[in-house]
């Protein structure tokens, strides 16, 4: 069976006002407090296009390698629903603003970070359209409450061709898109706030045969659920077909509690949206450096080249730069970018420490990140700032403490009591023993106490040496430099 997965992603545009009206865009405002006359569909009101939304869509199109249509059109998509006051949504069905792009994303093979493979999904198009309001069903009082704050907010619908084959790929592709949108600033793309919504189109077929009937899975509101929903649906379809059943071309909702997809309330056959050109909006004309008329007012036009010149580094570029600049591994760069603020943190530490980036990265990814994850903290909320960590790593680099001592200091730092690494080292007496004689004494003591091990080493089993080194470490409470200890032990044992 070959599963086929395509995605329709709606990203809310990050702008001050809505796509066609001046009311504000804001999450969690009091119900119906951000509704203009146009949003409420008062008769006689007309749409006026928001320039910032157009720029956001162009930016996104360029970042996804799309061709930007210099002329795109707006259409009305009609259906009746309480959260759609005008009885139609303004969208771009005939000629959208951007088409034919691609998105590259990476997957870990077999869950091993060390084996990453790059995949590409084609972007069919990006279109500008209005978001709908929100309806809350109060079954107890058999009424529906409508909040129009979201009605009319600008959306970019990104359509990904069915080039993906499973939940993991879908999630990875969406994750990369999310990073791109956040980097561009065209959308904050926070799934939990409804700024990024994904609908998955899933079908299965036998190799060589035509594509199977597809279902649309909606109501997926987290990255985790996306993979689950897609995989469940693939499985469901395979089972259904293997049992001799058929797949209906229907819309299904993902039930996160049950972990399965269920058919949505029957919509009485397919909807005919009666698309019609939006007569109140002239075609959207975009310019580039070549086509821009000399006397045109800058305020009145969107210049694609101007936007292109100002695009920030996309995540893939940033990752490549991190790898090149710091010699870290590609999979490290993924983790750095996946965590909001982590790459910046990393670079801040690098700036303040002499330790090599290749060593710093270990502390960032293993120690810092795992602690943050354990306590569900974001990088910004970290009690250990990049300065503190850099200080600590410097102590380590200058061999004033051992790495196990450093881990102890880090433990202390997490408490966020405001002490500096140096203060903690002094407090807990974690400095490396610098006195050669003292070290030799301790080593001798250990040798004296481990007759069997000494004999094993002298017999040629060098691995046992590590045990001795460990014992010295313990005896010194981590205050001995293992390299030095090894040297001393080897010297003594060879005597």
């Amino acid at each position: 069976w070959v599963p086929v997965v395509g995605l329709e992603i709606h990203a809310q545009i990050s702008s001050n006002s809505k796509l066609f009206s001046g009311s504000q865009v804001q999450f969690a405002a009091p119900p119906n407090s951000l509704v203009s006359f146009f949003d409420a569909s008062l008769p006689g009101t007309l749409p006026v296009l928001n320039r910032r939304c157009v720029e956001a869509a162009v930016m996104t199109g360029l970042a996804l390698n799309c061709s930007i249509n210099k002329k795109s059109l707006f259409d009305r998509k009609h259906y009746f629903y309480a959260d759609l006051p005008a009885g139609y949504q303004i969208t771009q069905q005939r000629v959208p603003i951007a088409v034919n792009g691609s998105l590259s994303y990476s997957l870990c093979v077999d869950n091993k970070m060390s084996q990453m493979v790059t995949k590409t999904v084609r972007i069919k198009q990006i279109q500008l359209e209005q978001d709908s309001g929100k309806s809350l069903h109060d079954d107890a009082r058999s009424q529906t409450l409508i909040d129009l704050n979201r009605a009319g907010v600008g959306l970019m619908e990104v359509v990904m061709e069915p080039d993906m084959c499973c939940g993991e790929e879908a999630a990875a592709a969406v994750r990369e898109l999310q990073l791109i949108l956040q980097t561009l600033g065209s959308s904050q793309a926070i799934m939990a706030e409804g700024q990024l919504r994904v609908d998955a189109n899933v079908s299965v077929h036998h190799p060589g045969e035509p594509y199977g009937v597809r279902t649309e899975v909606k109501n997926i509101n987290s990255m985790r659920f996306l993979a689950k929903a897609v995989d469940y649906e693939i499985q469901r379809q395979i089972e259904e077909l293997e049992n001799g059943g058929t797949i209906l071309n229907e819309t299904r909702a993902f039930d996160s509690k049950l972990g399965c997809t269920i058919p949505m309330r029957d919509k009485e056959g397919k909807q005919d949206y009666r698309f019609m050109p939006e007569p109140n909006l002239p075609p959207l004309i975009l310019y580039d450096a070549r086509s821009l008329p000399v006397d045109m007012n800058h305020q009145q036009v969107v210049n694609i080249d101007w936007i292109r010149e100002r695009l920030p580094d996309l995540p893939s570029v940033t990752r490549a730069k991190l790898v090149e600049l710091y010699g870290i591994l590609p999979e490290h760069s993924f983790t750095l970018l996946n965590e909001d603020g982590l790459a910046e943190y990393f670079e801040n530490v690098i700036k303040k420490t002499q330790m090599k980036p290749k060593k710093v990265i270990g502390w960032i990814l293993n120690d810092l990140l795992s602690y943050l994850k354990q306590h569900a903290l974001t990088v910004k909320e970290s009690p250990v700032s990049s300065f503190l960590l850099a200080d600590l790593l410097n102590l380590l680099e200058k061999r004033e403490i051992s790495s196990s001592a450093a881990k102890q200091v880090l433990e202390e730092l997490w408490k966020g009591e405001g002490k500096t690494p140096l203060e903690i080292v002094k407090e807990k007496k974690l400095e490396l023993i610098q006195d050669q004689k003292e070290l030799e004494q301790i080593c001798q003591a250990v040798i004296d106490g481990q007759e069997d091990e000494v004999m094993a080493i002298k017999a040629g089993n060098l691995k046992v040496l590590n045990k001795l080194i460990g014992l010295v470490q313990r005896a010194t409470r981590g205050r001995s430099n293992p390299v030095l200890v090894k040297q001393i032990l080897e010297k003594k044992l060879s005597e």
Binding site: F37, A40, S41, L42, P43, G44, T45, L46, P47, V48, L49, R76, H78, F80, A82, P85, A86, G87, Y88, S142, T144, I146, D272, R274, F275, M276, P279, N280, L281, P282, Q300
Partner: protein, 495 residues
């Protein structure tokens, strides 16, 4: 205001805004006393068709759907008039949602043509009629801006706003013996005009003379950021010259406007008018607009499609009428729309939705758009070949008695009556109807001038010349005579 009261039997007004009008008049007077009038229109009483939004004053569109609806904002054109100090007397009657050519199909009943009560009509027609009751002989105003036309014609205001989608300003202007101007599409803002066909609607101007129309046009035209279909160019208000030379003009007489059903009277008047121009030295030639005969059918498809779309917002949820039906949202929608709209509106919605169905879109809507382009190109070709102005009749006959008019349904009547005016809306051109002469029955007949896009100055100049030549008689109304003192003082045009 008292004249409005004494002519209430005309049913021209839906709402008379007595209190606010008096206040506005008072303030205007104060400004004049200070020597600081806001502009030429300061203190001038105007009336507005009831499909324009007026803040604080009911806007009904003569429909149950909006009965009692008080809009929170003023249409741009209303705001502009108020900003000039004009006195808003009230909202005028119309066909429901501007659908009709008689101003007979609104919930407030039909508008009566003031000329029905004129000495001219009574002398010519009533002695011949067999009916004892003059009541049953009254004639229609034409439509759909009949209330506005009647208001201007009966001297209850100096100017009125109408709307023109297929002839709705020019048709009643011709029947009521007043000037009816349809400006170029995109010249005057539609923001706040409750739309019928967004791609053809324009606000229309009804006045008693061409100079007045020029004045009103001057205060209304120009780019409105709230209406994206208005042109960006700055509009320069103009005054019409008093001395006009038409000898350098080329007047076109489109042969297709010699339509079936055109009364011989009007044909003769048309011919006489052409001769007037010839005698003045103008070049008068016959031209052809070959696709004229397709305009009605084309209009039906495009109009009903847009109507179906524009009326989708009337669902009883956010504003307006809501049916007393609680079973489900859908049943509430259905009941609201059945009860709120009249047959004409519902008929057009059903037709329009049919044409917009996916399976029909290509054959009907797209086809009609193509035919529309052909119709528009007819004008481009004719105007491009040296013709400055086209001269045509406005209506096929003079106003018919109401009892006769209602023998045919709205759709049939619209199809018949729009034939001479509709194509102009297809092409977005400016046109004006000028009262020319009285018919055998003592009723007004108007002729139409059609001009180049955005060449209102030339159009109105020619119209003014013609107006001077024909010297159309003033209506002789009892009620008006009784108000002689106050009215005749202001009889002179505002210029």
């Amino acid at each position: 205001l008292s004249l409005i009261r004494s002519t209430a039997f005309l049913n021209a007004y839906v709402t008379v805004a007595e209190e606010t009008a008096l206040k506005q008049a008072e303030e205007s007077e104060k400004r004049y006393r200070r020597g600081q009038p806001l502009g030429v229109l300061d203190g001038i009483p105007i009336a507005v068709k009831d499909n324009f939004n007026t803040a604080g004053i009911e806007t009904t569109c003569a429909s149950n759907m909006l009965k009692g609806y008080i809009s929170p904002y003023n249409a741009t054109v209303v705001q502009k008039l108020l900003d000039q100090g004009a006195v808003l007397l009230g909202k005028t009657n119309l066909d429901e949602f501007a659908m009709g050519s008689g101003s007979t199909d609104g919930i407030f009943g039909p508008v009566r043509n003031p000329w029905s009560y004129s000495r001219q009509y009574k002398e010519k027609t009533l002695p011949k009629s067999h009916s004892e009751n003059e009541e049953s002989n009254w004639v229609i105003t034409g439509g759909s801006s009949g209330g506005s036309a009647a208001a201007v014609s009966s001297f209850t205001c100096f100017a009125a706003l109408g709307s023109d989608t297929g002839g709705s300003t020019r048709n009643p202007a011709a029947h009521c013996g007043v000037v009816g101007l349809k400006p170029t599409y995109g010249l005057i803002s539609r923001h706040g005009l409750i739309p019928l066909v967004n791609s053809m609607d324009v606000p229309g101007i009804l006045t008693r003379c061409v100079d007045d129309a020029a004045v009103v046009l001057g205060s209304l035209a120009g780019h409105d950021p709230k209406d994206s279909t208005t042109i960006q160019d700055t509009f320069k208000p103009f005054e019409l010259p008093n001395w006009i030379d038409v000898s350098k003009l080329c007047i076109g007489i489109p042969k297709e406007y010699h339509a079936p059903g055109l009364s011989s009277e009007i044909l003769a008047l048309w011919s006489k008018a052409a001769d007037l121009f010839k005698d003045a030295g103008a070049k008068v030639i016959e031209v052809s607009l070959p696709h004229t005969r397709y305009s009605i059918v084309c209009y039906h498809v495009l109009c009903t499609a847009e109507v179906a779309s524009n009326m989708a917002r009337f669902d009883g949820l956010e504003y307006g009428y809501r049916a007393d039906m609680n079973k489900s949202t859908e049943s509430m929608y259905a009941a609201t729309r059945r009860e709120g709209f009249n047959d004409v509106v519902r008929g057009r919605i059903l037709s329009g939705n049919y044409f917009l169905l996916k399976q029909n879109y290509e054959n009907y809507f797209i086809k009609a758009q193509k035919v529309r382009r052909l119709i528009a190109n007819d004008f481009v070709n004719v105007f491009g070949s040296g013709v400055d102005i086209l001269l045509t009749p406005t209506t096929l006959t003079d106003a018919v008695p109401y009892m006769e008019f209602i023998k045919e349904d709205n759709r049939t009547r619209s199809a018949q009556d729009d034939i001479l005016t509709q194509a102009v809306n297809m092409a977005g051109l400016p046109a004006i109807s000028i009262p020319t002469a009285l018919s055998k029955r003592g009723l007004p007949v108007g002729l139409q001038f059609i001009g180049h896009s955005f060449q209102e100055k030339q159009l109105l100049t020619v119209a003014k010349w013609f107006e001077k030549q024909v010297k159309f008689p003033m209506i002789q109304l009892e009620e008006v005579k009784r108000h002689e003192c106050s009215i005749f003082q202001h009889q002179k045009s505002v210029t």
